[in-house]
């Protein structure tokens, strides 16, 4: 997603929140909210909810594209077990890559967000623009640029080779044969890069809202800087961290652009499989089953995570 998305997330987080208990506007009837809601909700119902149900139905079809698909009650559930037996490595890899990218994003984003929110002074709004500016260019064009940067005879790879860092990375199974492009590392780097602002901006928003006097109070009570960071700043920034990890992990887990452009078939993610099953293999039931499982997996992870993190303040 592009810079605008990120911009809005930050705008939204900065707005002060007001309790939902508003008196009903005078002169509006009980039906007014439903009238306002209905066109948008209808659109979401027809083009989000119905398609999701259709995805489930399609995943239970029997037959093939040539002979035509039919639905026989209670559906061909074997598609699910077959698809999962065959493609569990890609599922695992998607969640692993997305998880790694989320961790990298957090490590990179926290210091930047901290600096912008608490140490940048008059440069704050300029720095915020700089954070989202790279994302004004097309997602695909940016990702293609990484192909140039990480090219085998490029400066980055040569430097890392001469410092023997590629040997270390190869030992960690992140890269192969002194190259970065077409290795798992390239895909994770691409994912990290593409979703970084989704981590920076929510963390920035929570740190910016934090009352600076709380840190002072902690220090007045003889907390060391480290203790103040760990016991005051970090917990107060948690809503931003939670929102940021979700905004990074969800799109990263379903992404197949980075794996396609920066990786090879050997490091394909579940998104690549779904896309191939639809357009190359044209096995619609398998593709739909994989897609449906991905959705369920992500929804259950999100709910579990939000419950654990205990924050109501999502998107």
């Amino acid at each position: 997603m592009s810079g605008g998305a990120v911009l809005a997330t930050s705008v939204e987080q900065q707005e002060p929140r007001r309790g939902p208990d508003l008196p009903r506007a005078v002169g509006t009837s009980r039906a007014t909210p439903y009238l306002l809601l209905s066109p948008g909700m209808l659109w979401l119902a027809v083009f989000f909810v119905v398609p999701t149900l259709m995805l489930l139905v399609t995943s239970l079809y029997t037959g093939s594209l040539d002979q035509g698909y039919t639905f026989e009650f209670p559906g061909h559930w074997a598609t699910y077990s077959n698809a999962l037996t065959e493609y569990w490595p890609q599922f695992l890899r998607s969640f692993l890559f997305a998880g790694l990218a989320t961790v990298f994003c957090l490590v990179l984003a926290y210091p930047l967000a901290y600096f912008i929110a608490l140490r940048s002074g008059a440069w704050k709004s300029t720095l915020l623009v700089l954070v989202i500016a790279p994302f004004f260019t097309s997602f695909l064009i940016r990702t293609l640029a990484w192909k140039t940067i990480l090219a085998d005879d490029g400066a980055v790879v040569r430097t890392l080779n001469s410092l023997h860092i590629t040997d270390l990375l190869t030992w960690l199974h992140l890269t192969e044969a002194d190259r970065i492009l077409n290795t798992p590392l390239a895909v994770v780097l691409g994912l990290t890069y593409n979703f970084l602002p989704f981590m920076v901006l929510p963390i920035y928003a929570s740190l910016d809202r934090m009352d600076g006097r709380l840190v002072e109070a902690a220090q007045d009570l003889y907390a060391s800087s480290w203790a103040a960071l760990r016991k005051v700043t970090w917990p107060l920034s948690l809503p931003g961290v939670v929102a940021g990890t979700l905004l990074t992990f969800i799109p990263a887990a379903g992404d197949y652009i980075n794996a396609e452009l920066l990786g090879t078939a050997k490091v394909s993610m579940i998104g690549n499989v779904i896309q191939d099953q639809f357009f190359v293999v044209t096995d619609y039931p398998t593709a739909s089953a994989l897609s449906f499982v991905l959705m369920l997996a992500i929804i259950s992870m999100v709910f579990f995570y939000v419950r654990r993190a205990g924050t109501e303040e999502l998107v």
Binding site: A145, S225, I270
Partner: protein, 283 residues
């Protein structure tokens, strides 16, 4: 984004307390350094995109520097199909923005201003598309269109774009509505403005910046979307679809020119809105 003045607490704190201890040193020196490095990392591809728009590639792929040329900038539409794709993406972007902003603003007013049965359900409905990976949304819509025998093309792309932009519009406008001071409307009513006048003279102008922000957001989401579009476009080629195709067949430097132009134009829009906002807040 809101231009907030730095809190006086944090700046006075750093002045009053001399840095001491290793963590203090880390915070005062290391954090700005890491922040700067992260920004450099974020800008590296932009630098490459702009640089390689001035390249004269030797083969079909524009991944290696050969020599300087302004050919791509002066012959932008020479590449077959690119400018048509660009035009289509702009058109889809504008239509998807208008529709999603209209539908989304109504929903935002309903959720933001009213208490009613099913409000949390409506909130969940708005949240769900944002929590769903694009590949799932794209394949679900494809399953629907295939199941209903709908031919894929510009129309199906539009339908999909309006759907995923809608949630982002609702969230953005709703936040703006939530930040309004109810006393302004009460004041208008106290001065004998009726509801309609109050809405159009007070409420709506105050919500308008949120609607403008939502429009920019919706446009950029639609313009840059690849995954959902790829599933539902049939033979229609939007600009991201063109770039994807080019990535397999060979990328002309003209693609980089468009990337550079997008960067410069959006940056100009953001800077302009910042300047306008700053002027307004000064008056």
């Amino acid at each position: 984004m809101a231009v907030t003045t730095p809190s006086s607490d944090s700046s006075s704190m750093s002045v009053r307390r001399r840095p001491r201890g290793p963590v203090r040193w880390l915070r005062s020196r290391l954090i700005p350094l890491v922040g700067l490095l992260v920004l450099l990392y974020m800008f590296a591809p932009i630098f490459v995109v702009v640089l390689f728009s001035f390249n004269q590639p030797s083969g079909r792929f524009n991944y290696q520097w050969v020599h300087f040329s302004t050919n791509a900038w002066t012959n932008l539409c020479q590449v077959g199909g690119m400018c048509e794709a660009l035009r289509l993406s702009l058109l889809i972007g504008v239509v998807a923005t208008l529709c999603s902003v209209l539908l989304g603003t109504l929903v935002a007013f309903a959720i933001g201003r009213h208490r009613f049965r099913g409000r949390s359900g409506a909130n969940l409905m708005v949240f769900m598309p944002m929590a769903t990976p694009e590949v799932v949304m794209g394949s679900s819509l494809l399953a629907l269109f295939v199941g209903m025998n709908v031919a894929r093309g510009t129309g199906t792309v539009l339908v999909a774009h309006i759907m995923f932009c809608l949630s982002f519009v609702v969230v953005t406008v709703k936040a703006r509505i939530a930040s309004l001071d109810p006393r302004l409307e009460q004041a208008a009513m106290d001065l004998y403005a009726n509801e309609r006048t109050t809405f159009w003279k007070v409420t709506f102008p105050l919500v308008l910046p949120g609607i403008v922000g939502a429009s920019l957001l919706a446009f950029s989401l639609s313009f840059d979307d690849f995954i959902v579009t790829n599933f539902n476009s049939g033979s229609t080629v939007t600009f991201p679809m063109f770039v994807w195709g080019a990535a397999q067949r060979g990328t002309p430097p003209q693609v980089n020119v468009v990337g550079s132009l997008m960067f410069v134009l959006s940056l100009a829009v953001v800077i302009a809105t910042q300047v306008v906002r700053r002027r307004r807040s000064r008056v």
